[in-house]
């Protein structure tokens, strides 16, 4: 190849590098690192619509969380507000990002961490922990990682047209699925529910993010508990034991609903939308009620009003609470209408 052509090719590549660097500087998160920045941003935008410091409990995690915890149902039954910050396939790094951003506008008394993502083989910001070249490329040119961020900038009415995400804001982060696809209790693998013989190991990255999440919650004065939502095809005793060990070592409550199915009343014939992996609205009604009661019984007094407030502060608090109640009651009515429409 002639020198002239080598120079031309080098110039072309240089131009590409400059464009990649420029576009990388324009796109991507400024405040926090996330794996699925688009989903995290969309969720935080939803949360932003809530009045500041109006959320008592934050539920965090992946789809197991947003299909199992319905804040409006919990509110109606137990009177405290909550928000589900879960996103599809949420990695622990994203849970940490969402939570740290949440604390900028909210002061939840309790964080409920759905722990399905804890066992994820890839809990960090990069696609795969062992894909060194791609990770390096993403680090140098973040556009390679945040390239699909454009859709979180589209109008919400356009983005959230998929059925379960459509009413995410109204439902306080909960994803509504009313369809039923039963779990095959006579199927080949049905006996394996909770007893699949696989060895799950938390990666060091996962341990480090879990540590950060717990520290963040505690440093902000929140209680934290672990939750495993019912999932016939996903959760196992091995996973349960791995999480129990961590919960015990950190003095954290761990509610594994998979071991309480009868008490909760889960019926895999009617309570799942996808053959046992996730819950539908019927299942979520039962788990939300159970979770709400568990919180009330195990965290007594966390929703009590602060003592020693001046009369002015008390009045201001009451006005705020009244406003919050009006909004949540209205949203609850809309939710009921949605359920009626099916």
């Amino acid at each position: 190849m002639r020198m002239k052509n080598i120079k031309k090719a080098a110039l072309f590549v240089l131009g590409l590098v400059v464009l990649l660097a420029t576009s990388s500087a324009l796109i991507g998160p400024k405040d926090y690192a996330a794996f699925n920045y688009a989903d995290v941003r969309t969720k935080l935008k939803s949360l932003d619509k809530e009045a500041d410091y109006s959320i008592d409990v934050v539920c965090a995690g992946n789809s197991q969380s947003f299909y199992a915890c319905s804040p409006l149902l919990i509110y109606k039954e137990f009177g405290f507000t909550s928000y589900d910050t879960g996103t599809a396939g949420q990695r622990l790094c994203d849970t940490y990002a969402v939570l740290s951003e949440t604390y900028k506008t909210q002061a939840p008394k309790l964080v409920v961490l759905e722990v399905d993502g804890v066992i994820d083989a890839h809990p960090g910001v990069h696609e795969k922990e062992d894909d060194y070249f791609f990770n390096a490329a993403e680090t140098v040119f973040p556009i390679l990682h945040y390239h699909s961020v454009y859709y979180s900038s589209l109008p919400k009415s356009l983005v959230n047209l998929t059925s379960s995400r459509r009413n995410e804001k109204l439902l306080k982060g909960y994803h509504l699925r009313t369809d039923v696809k039963p779990y095959d209790t006579d199927g080949e693998d049905s006996d394996a529910y909770m007893y699949v013989d696989e060895d799950y190991q938390m990666t060091d990255t996962a341990k480090s993010y879990l540590e950060k999440i717990v520290d963040l919650a505690r440093s902000q004065g929140s209680e934290i508990m672990f939750l495993s939502a019912p999932s016939a095809t996903n959760w196992t005793m091995n996973k349960h034991e791995a999480v129990s060990e961590i919960a015990e070592s950190k003095g954290i409550y761990y509610l594994d609903m998979n071991l309480q199915l009868e008490k909760i009343g889960i019926d895999w014939e009617v309570d799942t939308c996808d053959g046992g992996e996730h819950l539908n609205s019927s299942g979520a009604k039962k788990t939300s009620s159970y979770l709400g009661r568990f919180i009330i019984e195990n965290f007594p007094g966390i929703f009590d009003k602060p003592e020693g407030l001046s009369d002015t502060a008390k009045t201001a608090l009451e006005v705020k609470e009244k406003q919050i109640k009006e909004n949540w009651d209205r949203d609850y009515e809309s939710y009921m209408n949605l359920l009626k429409e099916g």
Partner: protein, 506 residues
């Protein structure tokens, strides 16, 4: 390392180019061989040994045939083909055949006890390099090529990294000289190669991978209804075409970067006149392989020629042409189905195309007579539209069975076309396909772009020269924009599941 991974085209390929250029001309083929073996090792590990076995058998057979009499040559050919096929059959098909026999016997009421599946890891690429090995041996026997005297150079032909995972299935006489001649890399080849790679990435990463979630969602449903099944069949056809042709673009582009031109594998297949023509434009190198090494040998075999002669002597002379076509086509299409993998759905796929093509073979003359009788030109828009719709339906239904896990799933979907079409239900279900609203315009514009390019290629328009004629800055802006389209609209990273190259598993 997949062809559409950044490691491949940003790191591996440039590194090979650099090393190739730095080496003395006489030893450059060694760089390609080392790169090919390293590439294969990365995804196959010790399974690379099976490729080396095919190399050894092919080389030995070639050398042994030198100077031998035709009868001896034939014997050597048969033994070596058998040895190569044993590797393929044992690794890829043994469980399928044994389990099929077991199922048959238990079906007949014989007590057979529990069946323990035979589990072999099938080396990636074995279906491709075995076919190349066979073509080499047969071509040596036919004196079409001279046998290679250098086992390493033959190894390079049978393991050349751009083609090892999905083809194209090249012939020794097409590429061997070029692979080993130590040519210089040219600026023009590198540009054209990377442009082709970029177009392949566009088809694979922007279109095929984006569609994946919808295709998987439809096929995973149990409650099929016609409209949804049909949509699923269309989407899986487009996805398969975009995935396979996109990866082939990357393979051919990679070859071009290194100055090696490989045979085209696709030629606007949906513009074909009929199913037979479709297979002259879709997976072309597999089709020509079957034509050269199965269709013609079967057509000329004593078994078939005797039958044809017997027909000619009797009063069934008209049947003689059909009997030859029948045996040749059924062998080709059963092999084609089986080549794709040890599954009954693939065999059904082969039988399906056999029936369609055989019917077309019988009916095409009658159809032409019909057109003549009514004075309709075969090129009139009406006739062309009819042929296009007919072809699309044939291909879409075929790909639906191809994609289905079992015959019963394929037939359930097919049955639903007629039993419960429920078009209205599709509109309410479309939001549950897993695609977000922004996916639709991206897919629509991308497909329109591919269609426009295909039309231009069909009309023999030289797209590249049109781009090359643009002023330098415009040209560069065009290519930068193309790179950014793939980067920004590619379905990779957060929110997307990685989709493996579909034909790498066959």
């Amino acid at each position: 390392m997949a062809y559409h991974s950044i490691q491949y085209f940003v790191l591996f390929l440039p590194l090979v180019m650099l090393l190739y250029s730095l080496f003395p001309k006489k030893k450059r083929w060694a760089v390609l061989l080392a790169a090919s073996l390293a590439f294969e090792w990365m995804f196959s590990s010790f399974m690379i040994v099976f490729n080396l076995v095919v190399v050894a058998i092919s080389y030995t057979a070639g050398r042994l045939m030198e100077g031998q009499k035709p009868k001896k040559k034939k014997k050597i050919m048969y033994v070596s083909l058998l040895l190569e096929l044993i590797c393929l059959i044992v690794l890829k098909y043994s469980d399928f055949f044994v389990f099929s026999g077991y199922s048959l016997l238990t079906g007949l009421g014989l007590e057979m006890g529990d069946y323990n599946h035979i589990k072999f890891i099938v080396p990636i690429g074995i279906s491709y390099y075995t076919l190349q090995g066979i073509s080499y041996i047969v071509d040596v026997k036919r004196k079409k090529i001279a046998p290679s005297h250098d086992i390493f150079k033959l190894a390079l032909y049978l393991s050349f990294f751009p083609q090892i995972m999905e083809g194209p299935i090249t012939r020794y006489d097409e590429v061997a000289d070029r692979l080993c001649d130590g040519h210089d890399l040219t600026y023009s080849d590198i540009c054209q190669g990377y442009q082709r790679i970029l177009y392949g990435l566009f088809k694979k990463v922007v279109i095929a991978d984006r569609m994946n979630v919808a295709v998987e969602t439809v096929f995973a449903r149990g409650d099929y209804y016609g409209a949804l099944s049909f949509l699923g069949a269309i989407l899986c056809t487009i996805q398969l075409y975009m995935d396979f042709s996109g990866t082939i673009d990357i393979a051919i582009g990679s070859g071009k970067v290194l100055g090696v031109s490989m045979a085209e594998n696709f030629k606007q297949p949906f513009f074909a006149d009929n199913a037979s023509d479709f297979w002259h434009r879709w997976h072309i190198t597999l089709g020509t392989w079957f034509k050269d090494y199965i269709f013609y040998p079967v057509s000329l075999s004593s078994f078939v020629t005797k039958q044809a002669k017997a027909c000619k002597k009797s009063n069934k002379a008209w049947f003689a042409t059909y009997i030859t076509a029948f045996w040749s086509l059924i062998c080709v299409w059963l092999s084609n189905g089986l080549w794709h993998g040890p599954k009954w759905t693939y065999i059904l796929y082969g039988v399906y195309y056999f029936l369609i093509i055989f019917l077309e073979y019988m009916l095409e003359p009658k159809f032409k007579k019909f057109l003549n009788k009514h004075k309709w030109s075969p090129k009139s828009p009406g006739v062309r539209a009819f042929r296009f719709i007919k072809l699309c339906l044939i291909v879409i239904v075929g790909e639906m069975f191809f994609k289905a896990d079992t015959w019963s799933q394929g037939f359930a979907m097919f049955k639903s076309f007629f039993a419960n079409p429920e078009l209205g239900r599709l509109f309410s279900d479309i939001s549950g396909l897993g695609l977000d609203i922004y996916d639709y315009p991206i897919l629509l514009f991308s497909l329109l772009l591919v269609l426009a390019i295909s039309i231009m290629k069909e009309k023999k328009a030289n797209i590249r020269s049109k781009i090359e004629s643009m002023p330098l800055l415009c040209r560069w802006a065009f290519w930068y924009a193309a790179v950014f389209v793939v980067i920004i609209f590619g379905a990779y990273g957060p929110g997307f599941d990685a989709v493996a190259m579909m034909y790498a598993t066959f």
